[in-house]
Each structure stands twice: as C-alpha cells, then as structure tokens.
Symmetry: C2
Subunit: 195 residues, 2 copies
C-alpha cells in the first residue's frame, strides 16, 4: 500500500491496519499473535504498547452527539518515547522494538530513533533483556539482535546502516513456524541457559 | 471538573488533562513526575502506557488538508487490557495500576477491572512485582498494596470494596515528599531486602 508523503503515512497505515483486527501478515502481526500464544499458555506476558496519540478535540455525549460515548474529533500521532513491546518472561524484564526492511544487504539505522536506542541502553544497564527484531523482508529472514550488539555497532561504527553480515555474525535468526508464529523466546531461552 | 455522563467522562477528562502537560495535582501526575525523577537519575525505567485508542477515520495530507500531517478525525477510547504502568527496577519487572478514591472508609473494587486483576496475577506468578497504588484523596494517604494481597482479598472475600482497615493492615503507606514526589520504590526496596 502506498500513500503520498512517505514514511510516516506508511507507518500510520500499518497502525490503522492492525487496529482493524490485524489484517495482513507483517512482522508486527506475527509478533502480536506470537505474544498472544505466549499469554494464552502463560509462558510470557509481553504486550505491544498502544500508539501515543495527542488529543486536541473531543465531543462529549449531548443531545447532538447521540452515540452515547466520547468521540475524539481531532488528534495526532505522537512518536513513542520508548520501544513498542515490553513485558516479563521467566522473571526477566523483556523490552524490544520490531522493524522490517526491504533492503537486502543492510538495515538502515534511521529506522530506530535515538531515544529508543537510549531506552534499550538503560534497560540493559538495569538488568533487563533488550533487543531489536529485524525482518529482512526480501530475504525472508527475521533476526533478533541483542541491545548490547546494537549499541556496540552504533558506538563503534559511524555507518548509517548495519550490514547484513553483522546480523549473520552477531544476531540470532528466529524460526518461523505454525505456533507460535515467531518463537523469539526460544532465543532468549538459549541466552539464559548460557548466562 | 464535572461533565454529564459520569465515570467514563471523568476518566477521559483526566486523560485529556494529563496530555496537556500534566496540569493539576492528581495521583497520576504525582506518579508521572516521580517516574521522570527515577528515569532522569537512572534509578528505574517505569513508564505509563499510552491510552489505547481505536481510530476510525483519518485525513491524509492533501491540497485540502494543509497541515502536512495525518489528522485523526474520528476515534474512540478503548479500555486498556493491562495495567497503566510497567517497567524495570533493579533488574525486576514492575507492573502496577494507580487509582484514587474519594471514599473515606473503603476502596471500591469496581475501580479495577477483572482483566487488570488477572494481569497482576499473571505477572506475579511469572516472578514480577505487581501492585496497586491507591490514594484515599480525602484522607491524604497513598497506599501501595501488593498484588498478592489484592488477590487474596478478592479471592477470599465476597465484598465489593476493600475496607481501609485492610490497607492499614496489609498495605504500605507511601511517603509524599519533594523529590521524588511519591517515592513508591522505597517500599519495593524494603520488600526486596526482606526477600
């Protein structure tokens, strides 16, 4: 789907799309249904945070507004101050951001905001497990890259994108299967065993 | 502030109010500025989740819409599926709901939704620290009641409100001071020391 104006609009289209019962089959949807599987089986309790919205105008129920509930009539998308997902697994605090790219050779860092990187750094220094899930759409590979490795790349390299080879070397590819669709906690299990 | 229609509207008024730079001095505001203090001092990373909103209609930037960004023109408040706050402190997953009451003798349980109670139960069983912060507005006392004690009351008693005496017996009163305004992590410190 394409709309005039580029990135923000595509992003919003996705937001609107997923609020309409998660149609489509994107990364966000895969993660949401995996999280639902984890929650239903009481394995982990990880949720997507709602998109922050700045409300400017509302209509309260009156004789004119007969819907009987408040209608927001003017509001704007705000950029999130943290990552999209957080929760708990095996007593550990889990926090991550999920991104897709159509790029075949690298992941452009402009996809992740500086405050999100800072947030992942804070989480890690506080003892939480922070990471990014990056899907290379064209390659049909989804990686889990730990915050430590993301940060170490950003702090040591001056490049504006992370090459695929860095993912191949440092990240963990996430198996896609029937249930849960994207079993990213299996990677966390392996990491916890080693720790 | 009073609007026709009762609870939902009061709740929304608060949401709108806090989105306008946290005017007023309610419990939510006290918690938000305490969390900001914790974040600024890298003590804990606990955030309020945005209010979930169902978007029905948007205006994309066109020749008519000259604002240059997407305007949400019809949307509705949705009820949150989890609690309002979560994050990490000393490596521990923290999760809580905050509520105020004008009642002087008890806290009406209708203030907390069943799915929020279930969520706190899940969190606790997974090794997280779950609780509710309840302010008795008229008494000028703010309590932290652990999820375990909330659950044990709900599961053993058939009452529709928790008497103040239960808070006096089981909950921890939170000191109000200059910085941080509501130092609820001090209670968590005491609990972690004992554990």
């Amino acid at each position: 789907m394409k709309y005039p104006g580029g990135k923000i609009i595509e992003n919003t289209a996705k937001i609107i799309n997923t609020s309409y019962k998660n149609r489509g089959s994107n990364l966000e949807n895969d993660i949401n249904i995996s999280n639902k599987y984890y929650i239903d089986h009481k394995i982990a309790f990880i949720y997507k945070k709602p998109t922050p919205i700045k409300i400017n105008k509302v209509d309260y129920p009156t004789k004119q507004n007969k819907i009987g509930k408040i209608v927001i009539t003017e509001a704007y998308f705000e950029s999130p101050s943290t990552t999209d997902y957080n929760g708990i697994y095996k007593g550990k605090y889990i926090d991550f951001e999920a991104k897709e790219t159509n790029n075949k050779t690298s992941f452009p860092l402009e996809n992740i905001h500086k405050h999100q990187v800072d947030h992942l750094k804070n989480i890690t220094s506080c003892g939480g497990i922070g990471f990014v899930i990056v899907r290379f759409h064209q390659l049909r590979i989804t990686y889990l890259l730990l915050a430590e490795d993301l940060l170490s790349f950003i702090e040591s390299e001056k490049r504006s994108s992370i090459p695929l080879t860095y993912f191949e070397k440092k990240a963990y590819s996430i198996e896609e299967k029937y249930l849960p669709r994207l079993d990213y906690l299996k990677i966390i299990d392996q990491l916890l065993e080693v720790a």
